[in-house]
């Protein structure tokens, strides 16, 4: 796939996502992940293990999620995605005690994806942060991610309305973003 057609694909997916298509949104996130991983692993290679790169990948994905309202749908999504990745990778490494790191300004569309043999690698940091959530939120997060239940199934299991589960999930993700930020500020 060429850089231009990839950018066009991602832009289409995110436009559909912002119009309320959650399937397109999932597809978008899955499509971007290998590229984020590629950048993260390059930065981590001289510094830490693969699990750490996966921590960074998840932090970047969360930032994309929480800040997607700042993307202007009339533009292509490549430069925006690249800017989020760059900003968050700097934050992630700063939190790990590196004062200054250089993240070269590379076009995300020119990066080669890194997806091989990484699907079994899990992240550790997110697990610790999710553990700081309050109980109903933690249970919802666990049910949807680790147990693979849908929002509907989770609602039924916890005897909550679907709307309440969605609100709670949204708050949980915002809290997660704040927990990451707190770690960066302390440094």
């Amino acid at each position: 796939m060429t850089a231009a057609s990839k950018d066009a694909d991602w832009t289409e997916l995110m436009r559909a996502a912002l119009a309320g298509d959650s399937g397109a949104y999932r597809q978008f996130l899955l499509a971007v992940t290998p590229y984020i991983r590629s950048v993260a692993r390059k930065r981590c290679a001289t510094y830490a293990a693969d699990g750490e790169a996966e921590d960074v990948v998840q932090e970047v994905l969360l930032a994309i999620h929480l800040k997607r309202g700042t993307w202007d749908p009339s533009r292509s999504i490549g430069p925006w995605t690249g800017a989020i990745i760059r900003n968050k990778i700097i934050d992630a490494f700063r939190r790990r005690g590196r004062r200054r790191i250089d993240v070269p300004i590379e076009d995300v569309m020119d990066i080669l994806p890194a997806a091989e043999q990484t699907s079994e690698i899990s992240a550790r940091e997110i697990d610790t942060l999710l553990g700081q959530l309050k109980l109903p939120q933690r249970e919802i997060v666990r049910s949807i991610s680790l147990d693979g239940r849908s929002v509907q199934q989770t609602a039924a299991r916890l005897c909550m309305s679907e709307g309440a589960v969605r609100v709670s999930l949204h708050r949980a993700l915002k809290t997660l973003g704040a927990l990451y930020r707190r770690g960066t500020d302390e440094d």
């Binding site: 298509d21 949104y25 996130l29 990948v57 969360l62």
Partner: protein, 220 residues
């Protein structure tokens, strides 16, 4: 206390499932900034009409080009800074292409001051420049800017600025554009020589406050 949610670690595709469960479209930064502009204008106007008010000779002043040109300058500052805030609140907002926008208001101000230097005899320069309202200018503009600055900073927390301090400073510029517009309707010093001397001092003060607060609260 820190728990592990499952003792099992989360894989990234499981995390993606979690994120796509929260797929409801978010508010756009632009819509939040428009709300902030309306809220900021309302709060500053409320303070203005409650405590400050128009100058007594407002009806005659409306016929004076010097009086009216103050609004050309302050409104162009308010508008260009709002556009810049929408730009710098985004992670891919670049200094390069839209930066010329922020030059418009200072350029208008400097031109008007130059014209005034030619229009007035030299003996009149200092009286027009110093005049009696300088102290009000330096206190009322920052005071009127507090509400709008709070609104713009709150809105930019929905943003993702690559440079939080800069985004905060631009929020300060936009807020002082609103404040200066209202203050100009109260102040009876209309000479561009007065405006060019005192207004920028007040505006820089507000922007610097925006910079300091932005560095702290606009990180994401």
């Amino acid at each position: 206390m820190v728990h592990s949610i499952a003792g099992v670690q989360m894989k990234t595709d499981q995390f993606v499932e979690l994120l796509s469960g929260d797929a409801a479209p978010p508010r756009t930064l632009q819509s939040v900034l428009i709300l902030a502009g309306a809220g900021g204008a309302a709060s500053a106007a409320a303070l203005f009409f409650a405590a400050i008010g128009f100058r007594p000779d407002i009806a005659e002043a409306l016929g004076s080009p010097r009086f009216l040109f103050k609004f050309v300058i302050t409104l162009s500052l308010a508008i260009t800074a709002c556009v810049a805030a929408a730009r710098f609140g985004r992670p891919d907002g670049q200094m390069t292409r839209k930066a010329f926008l922020l030059v418009i208001a200072p350029a208008l101000l400097l031109c008007s001051a130059l014209v005034e230097l030619f229009a007035l005899p030299e003996s009149q320069w200092m009286p027009h420049l110093v005049d009696h309202n300088a102290r009000f200018c330096l206190t009322l503009i920052p005071l009127l800017a507090i509400g709008p600055l709070g609104c713009f900073l709150a809105a930019l927390r929905h943003g993702a600025p690559s440079n939080p301090g800069l985004a905060g400073a631009i929020a300060g510029l936009a807020a002082s554009g609103f404040a200066a517009t209202l203050y100009a309707a109260n102040c009876n010093d209309d000479s561009p020589l007065f405006v060019v001397t005192w207004y920028p001092m007040a505006i820089v003060l507000v922007s610097f406050a925006g910079y300091l607060i932005g560095r702290r609260v606009l990180r994401w």
